[in-house]
Subunit: 261 residues, 2 copies
Protein backbone atom coordinates (compact mmCIF):
# COMPACT_ATOMS: atom_id res chain seq x y z
CA UNK A 1 0.00 0.00 0.00
CA UNK A 2 1.46 3.20 -1.01
CA UNK A 3 0.61 5.39 1.90
CA UNK A 4 -0.99 8.50 0.61
CA UNK A 5 1.23 10.74 2.54
CA UNK A 6 0.40 14.35 2.46
CA UNK A 7 3.46 15.03 0.41
CA UNK A 8 1.27 17.49 -1.35
CA UNK A 9 3.53 19.75 -3.24
CA UNK A 10 0.76 22.22 -2.95
CA UNK A 11 2.78 24.11 -0.46
CA UNK A 12 -0.40 25.70 0.66
CA UNK A 13 -1.37 25.69 4.24
CA UNK A 14 1.03 23.16 5.60
CA UNK A 15 3.98 24.01 7.68
CA UNK A 16 4.62 20.89 9.67
CA UNK A 17 7.86 20.03 11.26
CA UNK A 18 10.24 17.52 9.80
CA UNK A 19 7.78 14.83 8.93
CA UNK A 20 4.45 16.16 9.96
CA UNK A 21 2.82 16.54 13.34
CA UNK A 22 2.76 20.24 14.19
CA UNK A 23 4.05 21.30 17.57
CA UNK A 24 0.64 22.31 18.80
CA UNK A 25 -0.58 18.82 18.10
CA UNK A 26 2.37 17.20 19.82
CA UNK A 27 1.61 19.21 22.93
CA UNK A 28 -1.90 17.79 23.01
CA UNK A 29 -1.13 14.14 22.37
CA UNK A 30 -0.31 13.51 26.05
CA UNK A 31 -3.72 14.91 26.92
CA UNK A 32 -5.47 12.54 24.59
CA UNK A 33 -3.41 9.72 25.95
CA UNK A 34 -4.49 10.46 29.47
CA UNK A 35 -8.13 10.75 28.48
CA UNK A 36 -7.92 7.44 26.64
CA UNK A 37 -6.34 5.77 29.63
CA UNK A 38 -9.22 6.98 31.77
CA UNK A 39 -11.71 5.65 29.24
CA UNK A 40 -9.90 2.33 29.08
CA UNK A 41 -10.08 2.05 32.86
CA UNK A 42 -13.80 2.53 32.77
CA UNK A 43 -14.01 -0.32 30.30
CA UNK A 44 -15.14 1.82 27.41
CA UNK A 45 -14.36 -0.03 24.18
CA UNK A 46 -14.89 2.79 21.70
CA UNK A 47 -15.44 6.51 21.75
CA UNK A 48 -16.36 9.25 19.33
CA UNK A 49 -14.22 12.30 18.69
CA UNK A 50 -16.87 14.18 20.62
CA UNK A 51 -16.43 11.96 23.67
CA UNK A 52 -12.68 12.07 23.63
CA UNK A 53 -12.55 15.77 22.98
CA UNK A 54 -14.79 16.40 25.97
CA UNK A 55 -12.58 14.23 28.17
CA UNK A 56 -9.49 16.04 27.02
CA UNK A 57 -11.06 19.46 27.18
CA UNK A 58 -10.69 20.41 23.55
CA UNK A 59 -12.81 20.98 20.48
CA UNK A 60 -13.79 17.82 18.62
CA UNK A 61 -12.79 19.24 15.27
CA UNK A 62 -9.35 19.95 16.59
CA UNK A 63 -9.07 16.50 18.01
CA UNK A 64 -9.93 14.92 14.67
CA UNK A 65 -7.46 17.14 12.90
CA UNK A 66 -4.78 16.26 15.41
CA UNK A 67 -5.40 12.55 15.08
CA UNK A 68 -5.42 12.80 11.32
CA UNK A 69 -1.74 13.63 11.51
CA UNK A 70 -1.03 10.22 12.98
CA UNK A 71 -3.04 8.28 10.48
CA UNK A 72 -6.55 6.95 10.10
CA UNK A 73 -7.27 5.07 13.26
CA UNK A 74 -10.98 5.75 13.48
CA UNK A 75 -14.00 4.16 11.84
CA UNK A 76 -16.52 6.39 10.16
CA UNK A 77 -19.92 6.19 11.72
CA UNK A 78 -18.47 4.47 14.76
CA UNK A 79 -15.56 6.23 16.37
CA UNK A 80 -12.21 5.16 17.74
CA UNK A 81 -11.16 1.95 19.38
CA UNK A 82 -9.94 3.16 22.73
CA UNK A 83 -7.25 0.58 23.24
CA UNK A 84 -5.87 0.81 19.76
CA UNK A 85 -5.81 4.57 19.65
CA UNK A 86 -4.14 4.63 23.02
CA UNK A 87 -1.41 2.38 21.73
CA UNK A 88 -0.95 4.38 18.56
CA UNK A 89 -0.52 7.63 20.43
CA UNK A 90 1.81 6.10 23.00
CA UNK A 91 3.83 4.75 20.13
CA UNK A 92 3.93 8.08 18.36
CA UNK A 93 5.12 9.85 21.49
CA UNK A 94 7.70 7.16 22.00
CA UNK A 95 6.50 5.87 25.32
CA UNK A 96 7.09 2.32 24.31
CA UNK A 97 10.53 2.54 25.75
CA UNK A 98 11.59 3.82 29.13
CA UNK A 99 13.80 6.84 29.43
CA UNK A 100 16.23 7.61 32.19
CA UNK A 101 16.05 10.92 33.97
CA UNK A 102 18.51 12.75 36.16
CA UNK A 103 17.33 15.45 38.56
CA UNK A 104 19.84 18.17 39.29
CA UNK A 105 19.19 20.34 42.30
CA UNK A 106 17.41 18.86 45.31
CA UNK A 107 15.95 21.81 47.11
CA UNK A 108 12.27 21.85 47.91
CA UNK A 109 11.21 21.51 44.34
CA UNK A 110 13.84 19.00 43.30
CA UNK A 111 12.92 16.70 46.14
CA UNK A 112 9.26 16.94 45.28
CA UNK A 113 10.07 16.12 41.66
CA UNK A 114 12.19 13.15 42.66
CA UNK A 115 9.22 11.80 44.55
CA UNK A 116 6.66 12.67 41.93
CA UNK A 117 4.82 9.50 41.02
CA UNK A 118 3.82 10.83 37.63
CA UNK A 119 7.38 10.50 36.47
CA UNK A 120 7.69 6.82 37.09
CA UNK A 121 4.20 5.91 36.00
CA UNK A 122 4.75 6.85 32.41
CA UNK A 123 8.01 5.29 31.51
CA UNK A 124 10.32 7.87 33.00
CA UNK A 125 12.81 6.50 35.49
CA UNK A 126 14.61 8.84 37.80
CA UNK A 127 17.99 7.15 37.99
CA UNK A 128 20.12 9.75 39.70
CA UNK A 129 19.97 12.83 41.88
CA UNK A 130 22.67 15.48 41.89
CA UNK A 131 23.29 18.51 44.03
CA UNK A 132 26.11 20.86 44.88
CA UNK A 133 25.42 20.93 48.59
CA UNK A 134 27.60 18.38 50.48
CA UNK A 135 25.08 18.22 53.28
CA UNK A 136 22.70 16.42 50.98
CA UNK A 137 25.17 13.85 49.71
CA UNK A 138 24.11 10.36 50.53
CA UNK A 139 20.78 11.34 51.95
CA UNK A 140 18.03 9.24 50.54
CA UNK A 141 15.36 10.81 48.41
CA UNK A 142 12.91 8.57 46.67
CA UNK A 143 15.15 5.59 47.26
CA UNK A 144 18.15 7.16 45.64
CA UNK A 145 21.17 8.74 47.18
CA UNK A 146 22.08 12.31 46.34
CA UNK A 147 25.41 12.50 44.59
CA UNK A 148 27.78 15.43 43.97
CA UNK A 149 26.99 17.38 40.85
CA UNK A 150 30.62 16.86 39.91
CA UNK A 151 29.64 13.38 38.91
CA UNK A 152 27.19 14.62 36.32
CA UNK A 153 29.20 13.48 33.35
CA UNK A 154 29.79 10.04 34.85
CA UNK A 155 26.15 9.63 35.72
CA UNK A 156 24.89 10.60 32.29
CA UNK A 157 27.27 8.27 30.55
CA UNK A 158 27.02 5.27 32.83
CA UNK A 159 23.29 5.39 33.40
CA UNK A 160 22.29 6.27 29.87
CA UNK A 161 20.44 9.41 30.85
CA UNK A 162 18.16 10.82 28.17
CA UNK A 163 16.48 13.65 30.03
CA UNK A 164 17.83 16.16 32.48
CA UNK A 165 15.61 18.00 34.94
CA UNK A 166 17.07 21.22 36.25
CA UNK A 167 15.72 22.35 39.63
CA UNK A 168 18.68 24.40 40.74
CA UNK A 169 18.76 28.10 41.58
CA UNK A 170 18.73 30.26 38.47
CA UNK A 171 22.37 31.13 38.91
CA UNK A 172 23.47 27.53 38.42
CA UNK A 173 21.04 26.51 35.70
CA UNK A 174 22.99 27.55 32.62
CA UNK A 175 26.12 25.83 33.81
CA UNK A 176 24.24 22.64 34.53
CA UNK A 177 22.55 22.83 31.15
CA UNK A 178 25.89 23.27 29.40
CA UNK A 179 27.29 20.24 31.13
CA UNK A 180 24.23 18.13 30.42
CA UNK A 181 24.41 19.02 26.77
CA UNK A 182 28.13 18.37 26.58
CA UNK A 183 27.53 15.00 28.19
CA UNK A 184 25.05 14.14 25.47
CA UNK A 185 21.67 14.98 26.97
CA UNK A 186 19.47 16.56 24.33
CA UNK A 187 16.27 16.94 26.33
CA UNK A 188 15.99 19.30 29.27
CA UNK A 189 13.13 20.20 31.55
CA UNK A 190 13.98 23.47 33.24
CA UNK A 191 12.37 24.67 36.45
CA UNK A 192 14.90 27.38 37.14
CA UNK A 193 13.56 30.86 36.43
CA UNK A 194 16.05 31.74 33.77
CA UNK A 195 16.50 31.58 30.03
CA UNK A 196 18.68 28.70 28.92
CA UNK A 197 20.82 28.98 25.84
CA UNK A 198 21.46 25.66 24.21
CA UNK A 199 22.83 24.45 20.89
CA UNK A 200 20.65 23.68 17.95
CA UNK A 201 19.00 20.32 18.29
CA UNK A 202 18.64 20.36 22.04
CA UNK A 203 15.05 20.52 23.24
CA UNK A 204 14.26 22.58 26.30
CA UNK A 205 10.87 22.77 27.97
CA UNK A 206 10.47 25.23 30.75
CA UNK A 207 8.15 25.34 33.69
CA UNK A 208 8.08 28.64 35.47
CA UNK A 209 5.75 28.97 38.41
CA UNK A 210 6.16 32.66 38.89
CA UNK A 211 5.39 33.34 35.25
CA UNK A 212 2.18 31.36 35.52
CA UNK A 213 1.17 33.37 38.54
CA UNK A 214 1.90 36.61 36.77
CA UNK A 215 -0.25 35.60 33.84
CA UNK A 216 -3.06 34.89 36.27
CA UNK A 217 -2.45 38.25 37.90
CA UNK A 218 -2.81 39.97 34.56
CA UNK A 219 -6.21 38.47 33.94
CA UNK A 220 -7.15 39.08 37.53
CA UNK A 221 -6.44 42.76 37.11
CA UNK A 222 -8.26 42.87 33.82
CA UNK A 223 -11.37 41.61 35.51
CA UNK A 224 -11.14 44.31 38.10
CA UNK A 225 -13.66 47.13 37.57
CA UNK A 226 -10.98 49.70 38.17
CA UNK A 227 -8.93 48.45 35.29
CA UNK A 228 -8.79 50.95 32.49
CA UNK A 229 -6.08 49.33 30.46
CA UNK A 230 -2.52 50.12 31.18
CA UNK A 231 -1.30 53.50 32.26
CA UNK A 232 -2.46 55.86 29.59
CA UNK A 233 -4.33 55.22 26.46
CA UNK A 234 -7.92 56.13 25.89
CA UNK A 235 -8.41 52.50 25.27
CA UNK A 236 -11.02 51.09 23.04
CA UNK A 237 -14.67 51.02 23.63
CA UNK A 238 -14.53 47.30 23.60
CA UNK A 239 -16.78 45.69 26.05
CA UNK A 240 -15.76 42.78 28.13
CA UNK A 241 -18.21 40.54 26.42
CA UNK A 242 -16.52 37.27 26.87
CA UNK A 243 -19.03 35.76 24.56
CA UNK A 244 -20.79 33.26 26.69
CA UNK A 245 -20.80 30.13 24.71
CA UNK A 246 -24.12 29.17 26.01
CA UNK A 247 -22.68 26.30 27.91
CA UNK A 248 -22.09 28.47 30.88
CA UNK A 249 -18.97 26.51 31.53
CA UNK A 250 -15.63 26.70 30.06
CA UNK A 251 -13.34 23.78 29.72
CA UNK A 252 -9.75 24.42 30.47
CA UNK A 253 -7.51 21.74 29.29
CA UNK A 254 -3.86 21.49 29.46
CA UNK A 255 -2.06 23.38 26.93
CA UNK A 256 0.30 26.12 26.58
CA UNK A 257 2.66 26.72 27.05
CA UNK A 258 2.79 28.50 27.95
CA UNK A 259 2.01 28.73 26.33
CA UNK A 260 2.98 29.34 25.35
CA UNK A 261 3.89 30.80 24.85
Amino acid sequence: MRGWRRDTLTARTQAESPRGIPEATVARLPLYLRALTALAESATPTCSSEDLAAAAGVNSAMLRKDLSHLGSYGTRGVGYDVENLRYQIAHEIGLTQDRNVVVVGLGNLGQALANYAGFRSRGFRVVALLDADPRLFGTGVAGLGVRPVAELEDVVASLDVAIGVIATPASAAQDVADRLVAAGVASILNFAPTVLVVPEGVEVRKVDLSIELQILAFHEQRRSPSYVGGATGAGGHDHDVVGTDGHGRRVVAAGHGEESR
Copy 2:
Protein backbone atom coordinates in the same frame (compact mmCIF):
# COMPACT_ATOMS: atom_id res chain seq x y z
CA MET B 1 -34.18 27.87 17.62
CA ARG B 2 -32.27 26.44 14.83
CA GLY B 3 -28.82 25.44 15.85
CA TRP B 4 -27.28 27.96 13.58
CA ARG B 5 -23.97 29.37 14.45
CA ARG B 6 -23.72 32.16 16.91
CA ASP B 7 -23.16 35.43 15.15
CA THR B 8 -19.46 35.60 15.58
CA LEU B 9 -19.42 38.61 13.40
CA THR B 10 -19.40 40.65 16.52
CA ALA B 11 -15.73 40.08 16.94
CA ARG B 12 -13.40 42.28 15.03
CA THR B 13 -10.25 40.89 13.62
CA GLN B 14 -8.39 40.48 16.86
CA ALA B 15 -8.75 37.95 19.57
CA GLU B 16 -7.56 40.52 21.99
CA SER B 17 -9.44 40.94 25.15
CA PRO B 18 -10.64 44.22 26.56
CA ARG B 19 -8.04 46.66 25.55
CA GLY B 20 -5.78 44.63 23.31
CA ILE B 21 -2.74 42.62 24.26
CA PRO B 22 -2.95 39.17 22.68
CA GLU B 23 -2.53 36.15 24.91
CA ALA B 24 0.82 35.23 23.41
CA THR B 25 2.13 38.63 24.36
CA VAL B 26 0.76 38.41 27.88
CA ALA B 27 2.60 35.15 28.35
CA ARG B 28 5.88 36.84 27.48
CA LEU B 29 5.54 39.98 29.55
CA PRO B 30 6.79 38.25 32.71
CA LEU B 31 9.82 37.16 30.73
CA TYR B 32 10.61 40.72 29.74
CA LEU B 33 10.03 41.84 33.27
CA ARG B 34 12.57 39.41 34.59
CA ALA B 35 15.11 40.40 31.96
CA LEU B 36 14.60 44.06 32.79
CA THR B 37 15.05 43.39 36.46
CA ALA B 38 18.35 41.70 35.71
CA LEU B 39 19.43 44.65 33.61
CA ALA B 40 18.40 47.07 36.32
CA GLU B 41 20.47 45.16 38.83
CA SER B 42 23.51 45.45 36.63
CA ALA B 43 22.95 49.19 36.57
CA THR B 44 22.10 49.36 32.89
CA PRO B 45 20.16 52.56 32.26
CA THR B 46 18.88 51.82 28.78
CA CYS B 47 18.72 48.92 26.39
CA SER B 48 17.83 48.29 22.77
CA SER B 49 15.18 45.83 21.67
CA GLU B 50 18.08 43.63 20.57
CA ASP B 51 19.56 43.63 24.05
CA LEU B 52 16.33 42.93 25.80
CA ALA B 53 15.24 40.31 23.30
CA ALA B 54 18.52 38.48 23.76
CA ALA B 55 18.14 38.58 27.54
CA ALA B 56 14.61 37.25 27.29
CA GLY B 57 15.43 34.66 24.68
CA VAL B 58 13.15 35.93 21.95
CA ASN B 59 13.32 37.60 18.57
CA SER B 60 13.77 41.37 18.68
CA ALA B 61 11.01 42.02 16.18
CA MET B 62 8.62 40.09 18.33
CA LEU B 63 9.69 41.97 21.39
CA ARG B 64 9.02 45.31 19.73
CA LYS B 65 5.66 44.11 18.52
CA ASP B 66 4.79 42.93 21.99
CA LEU B 67 5.81 46.19 23.60
CA SER B 68 3.92 48.17 21.02
CA HIS B 69 0.73 46.75 22.51
CA LEU B 70 1.46 48.50 25.77
CA GLY B 71 2.26 51.86 24.25
CA SER B 72 5.29 53.72 23.02
CA TYR B 73 7.80 53.55 25.78
CA GLY B 74 10.93 53.52 23.70
CA THR B 75 12.96 56.24 22.04
CA ARG B 76 13.91 55.87 18.40
CA GLY B 77 17.59 55.75 17.88
CA VAL B 78 18.16 55.10 21.56
CA GLY B 79 16.19 52.24 23.00
CA TYR B 80 14.19 51.74 26.18
CA ASP B 81 14.70 53.19 29.60
CA VAL B 82 15.11 50.07 31.70
CA GLU B 83 13.54 51.38 34.86
CA ASN B 84 10.59 52.97 33.17
CA LEU B 85 9.82 50.00 30.96
CA ARG B 86 10.09 47.74 33.95
CA TYR B 87 7.53 49.80 35.77
CA GLN B 88 5.20 49.95 32.80
CA ILE B 89 5.20 46.20 32.36
CA ALA B 90 4.78 45.53 36.07
CA HIS B 91 1.88 47.91 36.02
CA GLU B 92 0.33 46.27 33.01
CA ILE B 93 0.56 42.84 34.59
CA GLY B 94 -0.91 44.24 37.76
CA LEU B 95 1.98 43.56 40.06
CA THR B 96 1.57 46.87 41.77
CA GLN B 97 -0.67 45.24 44.28
CA ASP B 98 -0.12 42.08 46.25
CA ARG B 99 -2.38 39.09 45.79
CA ASN B 100 -3.20 36.44 48.32
CA VAL B 101 -2.74 32.82 47.46
CA VAL B 102 -4.05 29.65 49.02
CA VAL B 103 -2.33 26.34 48.40
CA VAL B 104 -4.58 23.30 48.52
CA GLY B 105 -2.89 19.94 48.88
CA LEU B 106 0.37 19.70 50.78
CA GLY B 107 1.97 16.57 49.51
CA ASN B 108 5.50 16.72 48.17
CA LEU B 109 4.68 19.24 45.54
CA GLY B 110 2.38 21.38 47.64
CA GLN B 111 4.98 21.72 50.36
CA ALA B 112 7.60 22.68 47.84
CA LEU B 113 5.28 25.28 46.40
CA ALA B 114 4.49 26.68 49.83
CA ASN B 115 8.19 27.18 50.34
CA TYR B 116 8.90 28.44 46.88
CA ALA B 117 10.54 31.81 47.17
CA GLY B 118 9.45 32.85 43.71
CA PHE B 119 5.90 33.13 44.96
CA ARG B 120 6.62 35.64 47.65
CA SER B 121 9.19 37.63 45.75
CA ARG B 122 6.78 38.92 43.18
CA GLY B 123 3.87 40.12 45.19
CA PHE B 124 2.15 36.81 45.77
CA ARG B 125 1.54 36.04 49.40
CA VAL B 126 0.74 32.51 50.43
CA VAL B 127 -1.75 33.14 53.21
CA ALA B 128 -3.16 29.70 53.85
CA LEU B 129 -2.47 26.01 53.37
CA LEU B 130 -5.23 23.42 53.17
CA ASP B 131 -5.20 19.66 53.10
CA ALA B 132 -7.59 16.81 53.67
CA ASP B 133 -5.16 14.72 55.68
CA PRO B 134 -5.66 15.24 59.46
CA ARG B 135 -2.09 14.20 60.12
CA LEU B 136 -0.90 17.40 58.51
CA PHE B 137 -3.18 19.74 60.41
CA GLY B 138 -1.30 22.23 62.43
CA THR B 139 2.09 21.22 61.15
CA GLY B 140 4.09 24.17 60.09
CA VAL B 141 5.03 24.63 56.48
CA ALA B 142 6.64 27.85 55.45
CA GLY B 143 5.55 29.49 58.66
CA LEU B 144 1.91 28.64 58.19
CA GLY B 145 -0.17 25.96 59.77
CA VAL B 146 -1.97 23.46 57.60
CA ARG B 147 -5.71 23.72 58.00
CA PRO B 148 -8.52 21.34 57.08
CA VAL B 149 -9.74 21.73 53.55
CA ALA B 150 -13.22 22.04 55.04
CA GLU B 151 -12.27 25.57 55.95
CA LEU B 152 -11.71 26.52 52.34
CA GLU B 153 -14.70 28.80 52.08
CA ASP B 154 -13.84 30.55 55.33
CA VAL B 155 -10.25 31.01 54.33
CA VAL B 156 -11.05 32.46 50.93
CA ALA B 157 -13.54 34.91 52.37
CA SER B 158 -11.66 36.00 55.45
CA LEU B 159 -8.23 36.25 53.90
CA ASP B 160 -9.28 37.78 50.62
CA VAL B 161 -7.77 35.05 48.52
CA ALA B 162 -7.40 35.89 44.82
CA ILE B 163 -5.53 32.88 43.54
CA GLY B 164 -5.90 29.21 44.32
CA VAL B 165 -3.10 26.72 43.74
CA ILE B 166 -4.26 23.13 43.42
CA ALA B 167 -1.64 20.52 44.26
CA THR B 168 -3.95 17.71 45.25
CA PRO B 169 -4.23 14.28 43.68
CA ALA B 170 -6.11 14.36 40.40
CA SER B 171 -9.15 12.77 41.99
CA ALA B 172 -9.71 15.72 44.31
CA ALA B 173 -8.83 18.53 41.94
CA GLN B 174 -12.21 19.15 40.32
CA ASP B 175 -13.97 19.26 43.65
CA VAL B 176 -11.45 21.72 45.02
CA ALA B 177 -11.74 23.83 41.90
CA ASP B 178 -15.52 23.91 42.18
CA ARG B 179 -15.32 25.05 45.75
CA LEU B 180 -12.71 27.68 45.02
CA VAL B 181 -14.84 29.08 42.24
CA ALA B 182 -17.98 29.02 44.36
CA ALA B 183 -16.08 30.87 47.05
CA GLY B 184 -15.18 33.58 44.58
CA VAL B 185 -11.72 32.65 43.36
CA ALA B 186 -11.41 33.34 39.66
CA SER B 187 -7.76 32.44 39.13
CA ILE B 188 -6.48 28.92 39.52
CA LEU B 189 -3.07 27.39 39.04
CA ASN B 190 -3.52 23.66 38.64
CA PHE B 191 -0.77 21.13 39.21
CA ALA B 192 -3.03 18.10 39.31
CA PRO B 193 -2.85 16.01 36.16
CA THR B 194 -6.46 16.40 35.17
CA VAL B 195 -8.68 18.60 33.08
CA LEU B 196 -10.58 21.14 35.11
CA VAL B 197 -13.98 22.33 34.03
CA VAL B 198 -14.77 25.81 35.27
CA PRO B 199 -17.35 28.46 34.50
CA GLU B 200 -16.79 31.16 31.95
CA GLY B 201 -14.68 33.93 33.33
CA VAL B 202 -12.51 31.80 35.57
CA GLU B 203 -8.91 31.64 34.47
CA VAL B 204 -7.04 28.38 34.83
CA ARG B 205 -3.37 27.86 34.12
CA LYS B 206 -2.05 24.40 34.31
CA VAL B 207 1.36 22.95 34.96
CA ASP B 208 1.70 19.30 34.12
CA LEU B 209 5.07 17.74 34.64
CA SER B 210 4.30 14.46 32.98
CA ILE B 211 3.02 16.17 29.87
CA GLU B 212 6.21 18.16 29.58
CA LEU B 213 8.22 14.98 29.85
CA GLN B 214 6.15 13.32 27.19
CA ILE B 215 6.69 16.19 24.82
CA LEU B 216 10.42 15.84 25.40
CA ALA B 217 10.11 12.13 24.78
CA PHE B 218 8.46 12.76 21.44
CA HIS B 219 11.31 14.91 20.23
CA GLU B 220 13.79 12.52 21.74
CA GLN B 221 12.30 9.72 19.69
CA ARG B 222 12.22 11.83 16.58
CA ARG B 223 15.95 12.34 16.88
CA SER B 224 16.53 8.67 17.19
CA PRO B 225 17.99 6.99 14.09
CA SER B 226 15.47 4.18 14.32
CA TYR B 227 12.58 6.55 14.12
CA VAL B 228 10.71 6.21 10.89
CA GLY B 229 7.80 8.39 11.76
CA GLY B 230 4.86 6.65 13.25
CA ALA B 231 3.50 3.83 11.18
CA THR B 232 4.87 4.53 7.76
CA GLY B 233 6.86 7.20 6.10
CA ALA B 234 10.43 7.75 5.15
CA GLY B 235 11.52 10.16 7.77
CA GLY B 236 15.27 10.17 7.54
CA HIS B 237 15.79 13.86 7.32
CA ASP B 238 18.28 14.12 10.09
CA HIS B 239 21.70 15.27 9.28
CA ASP B 240 22.54 15.88 12.85
CA VAL B 241 25.30 13.88 14.36
CA VAL B 242 23.63 11.17 16.29
CA GLY B 243 26.88 9.44 16.80
CA THR B 244 27.68 8.52 20.34
CA ASP B 245 29.32 11.21 22.32
CA GLY B 246 31.81 13.25 20.45
CA HIS B 247 31.07 16.90 20.25
CA GLY B 248 28.78 16.23 17.41
CA ARG B 249 26.48 19.11 18.07
CA ARG B 250 27.45 22.50 16.94
CA VAL B 251 26.69 25.52 18.96
CA VAL B 252 24.52 27.67 16.78
CA ALA B 253 23.61 30.71 18.74
CA ALA B 254 20.70 28.79 20.24
CA GLY B 255 17.17 28.36 19.23
CA HIS B 256 16.43 31.66 20.79
CA GLY B 257 19.29 33.81 19.67
CA GLU B 258 17.95 36.45 17.39
CA GLU B 259 20.20 36.84 14.41
CA SER B 260 18.63 38.47 11.46
CA ARG B 261 20.91 37.15 8.78
